[in-house]
Symmetry: C2
Amino acid sequence: MRQAEHIELAIKPKPAQLSIHDWIYSEIRAAVLSGRLKPDIRLPTTRDLALQYRVSRGSVVTAYEQLIAEGYLCSYTGKGTFVTKTLPHNLSVRPAVATPTSPSVHGALSGRGKVFLQSPFYHDRGATAAIPFKPNQPDFEHFPLKIWNQIGSKRANAIRVRDMGDMDPGGYLPLRTSIADHLRFSQRIHCLPRQVAIVGSAQQALDLCTRLLLDEGDKVWMEDPGYPGANMVFANNGAHVVPVPIDAAGIRVDVALQTAPNAKMAYITAAHQCPIGVTLSLERRLELLAWANQGQATIIEDDYDSEFRFDGIPLAPIKSLDSTGRVIYMGTFSKLLYPGIRLAYVVLPDWLTDPFVSAMSLTCRYLGLHTQKVLSEFIADGHYARHLRRMKMIYQERAQAFETACKAQLGESFYINPITTGLDACVLLPSGMDDALVSDQLKLGGVQARPLSFYGIATKPANGLVMGFSSFTPEAIWEGMARVREILEI
Amino acid sequence: MRQAEHIELAIKPKPAQLSIHDWIYSEIRAAVLSGRLKPDIRLPTTRDLALQYRVSRGSVVTAYEQLIAEGYLCSYTGKGTFVTKTLPHNLSVRPAVATPTSPSVHGALSGRGKVFLQSPFYHDRGATAAIPFKPNQPDFEHFPLKIWNQIGSKRANAIRVRDMGDMDPGGYLPLRTSIADHLRFSQRIHCLPRQVAIVGSAQQALDLCTRLLLDEGDKVWMEDPGYPGANMVFANNGAHVVPVPIDAAGIRVDVALQTAPNAKMAYITAAHQCPIGVTLSLERRLELLAWANQGQATIIEDDYDSEFRFDGIPLAPIKSLDSTGRVIYMGTFSKLLYPGIRLAYVVLPDWLTDPFVSAMSLTCRYLGLHTQKVLSEFIADGHYARHLRRMKMIYQERAQAFETACKAQLGESFYINPITTGLDACVLLPSGMDDALVSDQLKLGGVQARPLSFYGIATKPANGLVMGFSSFTPEAIWEGMARVREILEI
């Protein structure tokens, strides 16, 4: 064995934030990893090192012990401490302290991973102040936050040991029961609580259903224009998206049947087509069901806002017609209550219930209990139904204000699709106007409006804007619309 | 148009739970859907129907209006109400009221979907009372639940309008900052808060990393025996799992380099191999890093319990040696605090941070804010570090009790791997004993012990049991061990 006493350990001055033993530890580790201290070299004794650097011997002992425990050094009684013999000679590893060098992202990601970079949600970071006419935004001011916080505070204070263990990956049973009860009356959907699974978002439900039901290359019908969140989940999972045009009665089932009769799935926004706003006709609903029954295909019915149907009772969903278990029905509380609640649900055909819950457990385990409990109590105590009723009236008033203001300020060359449901309006632009350019122009002037082209899949849709009316008072709507007129110099 | 007045509507008696208009609605809808009422048939007037069934005319009007809105009926002024002409003639659709008939699950699921059925977590439904020696179970009794509930109650009562909107899919920034600070001191990992992403579970982090980094058929090194949760996520995502044997120094990197040098990923439990319990040697850590650097591969370092290292400071993770951004480090609060907390984190190389957050937003959106806030305050106020220190001492005492009791009660033919870390012990059985059979036998006698074969991937591991000591007092451990002796008739 070589002697190392005469080797100058070349320890750099101690940085202020490190303790003495951390400093000694880091310096020796760096010397070993950089190859300055070669394997089998003997280190100074702890006493010598302590004297040399005028530190307490105890700190040096602690540092040596840590380095021995981690395998950098070995100690042999009576012989001293050595750099571990078995370490590779050319380590070329530097301890990470600075920002690591970055390989090219596109080089490092998988093929499917690259699709993830296109998430439409990614840039929605943080709650921004609502500027007109931000779409997909429920009103926050009328939410009974005081009641919500009272329930929340009570529930948070009541966590017991029995709540600390693992829970059912399908969700909190009382919440699933409340949802099943609500759906029976409000949507004519008859299901058992176990068929209702709680998820964190419609995205999560879509992702799991796609993976459970589609293999690479399997075809899925998608409304075009349609919801980009669904389109990207399908694409990321290797499904073959078949864009199907829509008309005033919703998705053109006849076209879909010609193009891809053997598709395995259809993604449908029946109550309120996203983004155009039309309602799927009964005829087409029945055609969809007949197709699904014949080919063992699945219909995903994404019902994101039909509770806010302004002309009477919500239309019965496709799910309410489904006697053979071909329809998966999805709803989300992020639009019915508020986005930060991060709770959604999916009503599963009986045969899919166990596989879905199993998939949930493997990719997520389950969702935290707290908000599920609060929401469950909020529904059971009637606050939920009361809030929906109230908001429906408020949104209806705002929808009317939007229509009137739009016509008055922008004139008849801007066409509003009839607003029957939900939070947003779809406004078609006069010919010659490009929606992406108009959206950018409005943004510079402090107005938000999403171009219809954002929703286009295979075909560029008509030039139009999706504009939210739901989180703005009639006054704010009129002011916002006046601002639009100014910006567009109409 | 045919006249339908003489057609007997054959309405079944009203079920008690339905309102009159719901009953009329349901009966007519069922008659249309079953084909008993053909397209274009004229219905009785609302007055006639009301008289016939002795109900209020208003209820019949409501039912007709709903059926018209949904497209079942059409009304022509002065002519009456008809079944919609355009409905397909042979509907063969029955409204769903009963449990739907079930297609075979295996026929309906995708290839990858079938893998989801094998989740090891799925049957962990509901918190079961801790019976000895349930593994992976932190102690609940010493958790500072009172402090936790105080913070939780305060936070739940302080939700404001600004908390209701969408938030950063990477997680709550103060929590990410607290974790980055903690890791710097406890694990020598230097990272920026933005490199820490909050997830709901290690499973979610694994799933997203796999999808971001591996395509169908890409190879991943997996310790054998190893963690089934990871193995199944890889398999479900179409990765090619390469099982690599382990020995007393951890994964046999030399074997892996011979078998599959071109793998794209390695899943490593370096601090405390799951399930055997050995620590990966420094030499192998450096070999892994050299391999990853050369081939642009990624190491997933799943550090699920190294905070509970009984002999001194936790060993510095591979991540702390990673200067080129090849290591993804994962930790979970479900073992450090309690499973129901459903929060975990992942430390990402800089280049992977944006893609990961984008993938999170597309497949989950983001996690609810409440528990993130509570945990963030719990860490910032020092409760977290205090709890970990305390539990380390308690777990160490229990580990010692387990070792002593095991040796005393079961004798030397049962071999305990040295317990250095964590919540569980690995006990090897005397030759001739089959672990799956022994586990079943113990279960019947009220003792839980997971067979090592549960963790085997390509090779059946040595016969052994994974037994948790962490959630049982030394007395309960001695009693449990006596029970094991009785059951096994030793």
